[in-house]
């Protein structure tokens, strides 16, 4: 409670300038915003009291009064993790009554350090579902900035919290939401020479963790399908590296191609209709695509080098991939049916594991020049920026809004791994909590 910051003075003119520039005659009004690219640590202070309930009701996930507190905790955790806000949770601010939710006590909040206030409620409906209300207020202006309501099963209460945090984040930053999303990754245990690697999934904040495979066969490089119904990944199930599609609902899986050749590096097309992968024939690896429903694969590259790690552009028209045809791993872009191949990486060193941003504007990659570092460049190859610097950071994956990049970090010597993430600005680098070591993260899209 020692840090008392007001939002910077710029807030008093932002909307006014926008309105004037646009020639609008709306009242010139101050408004809360945060800039995701700004330097410094002027995090916006947001009060997030526990969400009250009109009447405490038991649900399969606990009482609604208890859930109101927990939802506040998740909103606080999400907003803090973004690095843009300094949320103050229920143990730092006073509680509110149900009647206050839509009638905030601005005279009180104005006397605190909070520039913004999130209030909400939790209520059970006759059908047993929860309604979670979520309101954002500008404390200085004493106005409501946004309100949203979510109806969820009690066991999905965390999703309501993520959706509320997403609404706040979007309203204040102008960026697309990303908290209500999931991650597939490889959970690692055991010593370096006998590492057990299991497919696992979790929410974007590490909650609702679940192991999918038992670890008897090494699992690698998972990717959630865009509809979250299945996961494509590599397994040594039959002794050889092969790509399988695992159906989360049924627990069944199948090979993506019946070929006896090893297959690697699976990726979905953004519409979920295609799976891009690499296959080695007599030691030569090229990129193929196959319908996610099965069928005849289509070969896309024909070089004698290793062509691997393709990733579709968000509109599905192009593919970025890595190839060592020049003598070392470099990045190339081609059309989604193959052809028109063009090298885009020329910065010295090796470039690997390209991933096209869901916004389309950037490609993330692993740069190998001494250390393994995560970086971004434009699809044309310009504007290269490195975001991390550790001994071995590898395999970037994008948050659904294209503002945060996740990757995994390996510790020199003992080989321990962890999942990390960093903002596109290179700031706010932090490790995601996982129950055991983690690698090969794959961030899915925003949940529907």
């Amino acid at each position: 409670m020692t840090k008392r910051k007001r939002f910077p003075a710029a807030r008093q003119t932002i909307l006014g300038l926008i309105a004037l520039a646009a020639g609008l005659s709306v009242p010139v009004q101050a408004q809360l915003t945060v800039d995701v690219t700004a330097e410094g640590d002027n995090e916006l202070i947001i009060a997030v009291p526990a969400l009250p309930t009109p009447q405490n009701t038991e649900t399969p996930a606990g009482g609604t009064a208890d859930l109101g507190g927990k939802i506040s905790d998740v909103i606080v955790s999400d907003l803090r993790s973004s690095g843009l806000f300094e949320p103050k949770g229920r143990n730092q601010v006073r509680g509110i009554s149900f009647n206050e939710v839509t009638a905030p006590q601005f005279s009180y909040w104005g006397s605190t350090s909070a520039a913004a206030l999130i209030q909400g409620f939790v209520r059970t409906n006759p059908d047993g579902k929860l309604t979670v209300g979520c309101y954002l207020y500008d404390v200085a202006l004493e106005t409501e900035l946004t309100r949203q309501g979510f109806v969820v099963s009690p066991r999905d209460w965390r999703r309501a919290a993520h959706k509320c945090a997403d609404a706040i984040y979007s309203r204040l930053s102008g960026e697309s939401p990303f908290f209500d999303s999931r991650i597939a990754y490889i959970a690692e245990t055991g010593p370096k020479d006998n590492r057990r690697k299991r497919l696992a999934i979790m929410d974007s904040d590490g909650a609702n963790h679940r192991f999918i495979t038992n670890g008897r066969a090494t699992a690698l490089t998972p990717r959630f399908s865009p509809d979250y119904k299945s996961i494509v990944y590599l397994s040594f199930l039959d002794g050889n590296p092969r790509i399988y599609i695992y159906d989360i609902g049924t627990g069944r899986q199948r090979l993506i191609t019946e070929s006896s050749n090893p297959t690697f590096a699976p990726r979905w097309s953004p519409d979920g209709k295609w799976i891009l992968y690499s296959m080695a024939i007599a030691g030569n690896t090229d990129i193929y695509k196959v319908s996610s429903q099965g069928g005849q694969p289509q070969r896309l590259t024909f070089s004698p080098g290793i062509d691997i790690g393709g990733s579709f552009s968000p509109d599905g028209s192009r593919i970025v991939f890595e190839s060592d045809r020049s003598g070392s791993q470099q990045l190339y872009v081609m059309s989604s049916n193959g052809g028109n191949e063009r090298r885009i990486s020329f910065g010295g060193g090796r470039y690997a594991t390209p991933e096209w941003s869901p916004r389309g504007d950037l490609i993330a990659f692993t740069k190998i020049a001494g250390n393994f570092r995560i970086g971004v460049m434009t699809p044309g190859g310009g504007g290269e920026r490195l975001l991390t610097n550790s001994w071995q950071d590898e395999a970037p994956t994008w948050a659904p809004n294209g503002r945060v990049i996740q990757y995994f970090r390996t510790t020199r010597g003992n080989g321990r791994t962890g999942i990390w993430q960093v903002d596109l600005t290179g700031r706010n680098e932090r490790q995601l909590p996982t129950p055991v070591n983690g690698s090969d993260p794959s961030w899915g899209p925003l949940l529907p």
């Binding site: 050889n240 590096a265 030691g283 060592d324 791993q329 393994f372 390996t410 020199r412």
Partner: protein, 169 residues
Amino acid sequence: MWKYATPLVITSSLVLAGCGQKPPEELPPAPVGTAPEAPPPAPAGPGYAPGSQGDFLANTMSDRILFDTDRFNVDSQDQVILQSQAQWLAQHPNARITIEGHADERGTRDYNLALGERRANAAKNYLASLGVSPSRMTTVSYGKERPEALGSNEAAWAQNRRAVSVVVR
């Protein structure tokens, strides 16, 4: 890379397993079935059955060849080792092998799987050129997933960039 003290002439009974290797800076754990000292010549002595991996290890120069960073070419030292493997396979016409390709940890996961496949195939192709039927050889890549030397240094990485022939019973 391993160094050999003397020029080698391969004969069918030559036993050189483990001889003249430069000791690694960090000793990997003993691979299962590896003979640390030169065992008695073939045919089978105590400890292994004819046509087994033990027989193979005892009666070839090595079960593996090593590669430079990012490379998959079979150099002259590798050729000598693979020649000894080809001769053993000629003496055991019913034996089949799987060649395991590996990479060191200083590469990205996908690429290393492809690189291991390349290395295993390089060994397979050379053995085939010596007359070993391709139908007796399969390949599998483990990429960087199964390191044998556990350090994070050049010596360990050199040990891990390997193609290992394993007799399949």
